[in-house]
Amino acid sequence: MSASSINQEGSRRERGARPVSEIRPPSLLGINLFTNLTKLAQYRDLIWTLSIHRIKVRYKQSVLGVLWAVLQPISMMLIFTFIFSFIARMPSEGLPYAIFAYTALLPWNYFSNGVSNATNSLVSHAQFVTKVYFPREILPISYIVAAFFDFIVACILLAGFMIYYHVPLTINALYAIPIVVVVSCFALGISFLLSATQVRYRDVGVAVPLLLQVWLFATPVVYPLSAVPERWRTFYLLNPMVGIIENFRQVMLTGSAPESRSLLLSAAISVALLVGSYLYFKLSEATMADYV
C-alpha cells in the first residue's frame, strides 16, 4: 500500500454494531422523539464545533472582539436610561434605572439575538442542508448557544454594576439558573418554529425584527411589571418573557425569591412550545432540502 493510503487501524473494531434504519414518507405519527434525541446526542460534537465556530467567526477580524457582547446591552441601557430616566420618569422599583434596565436586557438580548439569528440559520446554510445529512435542529441550536455565550459575558459586567451600585447578591440569585433554563427552552422553541417556517415562507425572516421590536415593549424590560394595570395582568402574563424577565431582575437585584405563579406559567408554556415546535421542525425537516 502506498504512502497516501489512509490508515484506518482500529476504527472498525471500535465502531460496534451496524445501525439499522428505515426511511419512510414524513408523518407526524412516524416521529420518534427518543430516536431523534439519541441521534442529536450522537452529534453533540457538531453542536459544540458549530457553536464555537459562530463565536470565532463573529469576533475574528474585529478589533473590539468579544467586547461587542457587552457593548450591545450597554448602549441599549444608555439609550433607555436617557429616555426613561432623564426625559420621562419611569418607575424602577427603587433601583437605579441603569442597572434596572441592564439586568432585564441580559435575558432579553439572549432571547432576541438568539431567535433572530436562528430563524435564518437553515436558509443561510442551504449548502449544508442540501448536501450533507445531520440533524437540522443543530443549526438553530448553535446560534442559541452562541447567544448564550454573549449572555454570560454580559453577566460579568452585571457583577461590576452590582458592586458599583452596592446591590447585594443573595442566595436567591441562584434562582437565575432555572430562569435561564426556561428562557433557553423558550428561545429554542420559537427558533424551531420560525426557522422551519422560514424555509418555505421567507416572509418570516422579514417579520422577525419587527416582531422582536414589538415584543420588547410587550415585556417588562424598560418598565416594571407593577406598571401594568392589574386587570391586564392575566392576559399580559401569557407572554412567557414576562415571567422570565421580571423574575430574573427580581432574584438578581432585590434578593427575593421568584414569583412562582408567573415563573411556572412561563416554564409550562416554554416546555409545551419546545416539544410542539420540535415535532413540527422534525416533520418539515424531511423535505426541507426540497424547498431551501
Binding site: M1, S2, S4, S5, I6, N7, Q8, S11, R12, R15, R18, P19, V20, S21, E22, I23, R24, P25, P26, Y43, D45, L46, W48, T49, L50, H53, K56, V57, K60, Q61, Q127, F128, V129, T130, K131, V132, Y133, F134, A286, T287, M288, A289, D290
Partner: protein
C-alpha cells in the same frame, strides 16, 4: 446480507410556475397565486425497488433529470420519499465535495474540524485523522492559514480529503472524479478501492462511464425516474450509449440510397476508444478512432473521405478531410474501411453530431458520392481545457547562455 433496500419508492417534487410579467404586477393576483399555488407534480422516482447486497458496488447512470441524484439524496436522508420504504443496514457516508461548507476566515485546521463534525465524525476521530487528511489533500504547509488564502484546487482537495477519511459501511459516491488533478483523482480511486477491499458497499453515481465500469459490479440505467436497465456494467453502459445518441449506431438518413445506385455507399460510421471498443463517449484528450465503412460498386480514383463535427446547435465545428494529406485514396469494388485516427481528441466537453462523406476531389463541395449522418459523440471532462480546445503539448525550460542576460536566475524563477 442486504445492506440497502428500496421498496416501491417514489419521490414527488412540486414544480412551481412563475406568474407572467403582467399578472405579477397585480398584488392581489400575486397573492392568490402564492396562496393557491400553481404547480405541477414532477415524479423524480416512480415505484423504484431494488436491493443491494453487502459488499456490492452499484453504479447508477442516466441522463440529467433521470433520478440519479434523487436516489442519493433519499439514501443520505437529505430528503424523504413521497411513497415507499427505504431500509439501510449500516453506517452510511457520502464521499462528496463539501468545500462549499468551508468558512473563509477560519484556518484549514479549524475547517477540518468543522466539516469533519458536519460529516458525522467526532472530535477525537478528527484529531486522530488530521495529519492523514492534511497529507491526503497536500496542504500541510498551509494548515494554519485561513482558507480564503487557498487556491481553488487546495480548497477542493481539502474538502474532499475530509470526506475520504470517513470509514462507513455504505459509501455514496457522487461525481467524485471531477475534483482535482490526475494525481489527486488517482488517490481518490485508490481510496475507493481500499474501501471496496474492506467490504464496503458502494453506490456510485456518475457521468464518467469509464469509472463506473472500473468500479462497479452492477449498474442501473435510470430513465424518467425508473430503472430502465440493470445488469453488468458493460451491457448497461452500451445500452446507455445507444440511448444517449437516441438513434442506432449509425443512420442512413440523408443518404442517396433511394434511386440511382451511386458508385459507393457509406454503410457505417462508428467510433472506437483506446480499448478498441465501440464508444460514443470520450473524455477530452482521450484517443478516438472513427471507422468509415464503405461499399464500393465501381472503381474510384482519387476520392476524398471527410468527417464533419457539428455542435449540438448545428454549427460546423471542424471538418477533416483526406484532401490535404497528399494521399490519393483509390478504391476498388468491395468493402473498405477508412480510419480517422485522433490520438488526443481536442474537443471540450459537449455533444457533437458527426457526419461523413465521400466525394471526388474535382467535384464541388456539396456533390457527394454519399453522405451520412453518423451517431453523435459526447465529450466529457478529461484533460483540462481552459478555452475551447485541447492540443497535445509539452513544456520545456531552456536557460539562456549567461553572457546574453544579466540575471539568468530571474528567467528560471518566472519560468518555474
Amino acid at each position: 446480507m442486504i445492506d440497502l433496500k428500496f421498496d416501491n419508492v417514489s419521490k414527488k417534487y412540486r414544480v412551481y410556475h412563475e406568474l407572467d410579467a403582467e399578472s405579477s404586477e397585480n398584488l392581489l393576483l400575486r397573492l392568490r397565486h402564492k396562496l393557491r399555488g400553481n404547480w405541477n407534480d414532477f415524479w423524480a422516482l416512480r415505484d423504484v425497488s431494488f436491493e443491494v447486497p453487502r459488499g456490492e458496488a452499484l453504479g447508477i447512470i442516466g441522463q440529467n433529470g433521470a433520478g440519479k441524484s434523487t436516489i442519493l439524496k433519499l439514501l443520505y436522508n437529505i430528503t424523504a420519499p413521497s411513497k415507499g420504504r427505504i431500509s439501510i443496514n449500516g453506517r452510511l457516508a457520502a464521499l462528496i465535495e463539501v468545500a462549499s461548507g468551508f468558512h473563509p476566515d477560519l484556518t484549514g485546521r479549524e475547517n477540518v474540524y468543522l466539516n469533519g463534525s458536519l460529516l458525522g465524525m467526532n472530535r477525537r476521530e478528527i484529531s486522530r485523522k488530521l495529519d492523514s487528511i492534511v497529507d491526503f489533500a497536500g496542504v500541510s504547509a498551509f494548515i494554519d492559514t485561513p482558507v480564503k488564502r487557498y487556491s481553488s484546487g487546495m480548497y477542493l482537495r481539502l474538502g474532499f480529503a475530509i470526506a475520504a477519511h470517513l470509514d462507513p459501511d455504505i459509501l455514496l459516491l457522487d461525481e467524485v472524479l471531477a475534483v482535482g488533478d490526475a494525481e489527486f483523482q488517482s488517490k481518490c480511486i485508490q481510496r475507493i478501492n481500499q474501501l471496496r477491499e474492506a467490504g464496503t458497499t458502494i453506490i456510485f453515481v456518475s457521468h464518467n462511464l469509464g469509472a463506473i465500469e472500473n468500479i462497479c459490479d452492477r449498474v442501473f440505467l435510470l430513465r424518467d425516474g425508473e430503472i430502465f436497465r440493470s445488469g453488468k456494467p458493460r451491457y448497461v453502459i452500451s445500452e446507455y450509449e445507444h440511448l444517449l445518441t437516441n438513434m442506432p449506431a449509425w443512420s442512413s438518413s440523408g443518404s442517396n440510397d433511394g434511386g440511382v445506385q451511386s458508385a459507393a455507399q457509406i454503410t457505417s460510421v462508428a467510433f472506437f476508444n483506446s480499448k478498441k471498443r465501440r464508444a460514443t463517449i470520450f473524455a477530452t484528450g482521450e484517443e478516438a478512432r472513427a471507422e468509415v465503412e464503405l461499399v464500393v460498386h465501381e472503381p474510384l480514383e482519387d476520392v476524398l473521405i471527410e468527417v464533419y463535427f457539428y455542435s449540438a446547435f448545428g454549427n460546423l465545428h471542424s471538418h477533416f478531410s483526406t484532401e490535404g494529406e497528399g494521399n490519393k485514396v483509390n478504391l476498388t469494388p468491395g468493402r473498405s474501411v477508412v480510419e480517422f485516427i485522433c490520438p488526443e481528441i481536442p474537443l471540450e466537453a459537449a455533444s457533437f453530431k458527426i457526419e461523413a462523406s465521400i466525394r471526388r476531389r474535382e467535384s464541388s463541395f456539396n456533390e457527394h458520392i454519399d453522405y451520412k449522418h453518423a451517431a453523435g459523440i459526447n465529450i466529457i471532462k478529461g484533460k483540462s481545457v481552459h478555452g475551447v480546445f485541447h492540443t497535445p503539448h509539452t513544456w520545456r525550460l531552456k536557460p539562456l547562455p549567461l553572457e546574453r542576460t544579466e540575471d539568468p536566475d530571474a528567467f528560471v524563477k518566472t519560468a518555474d
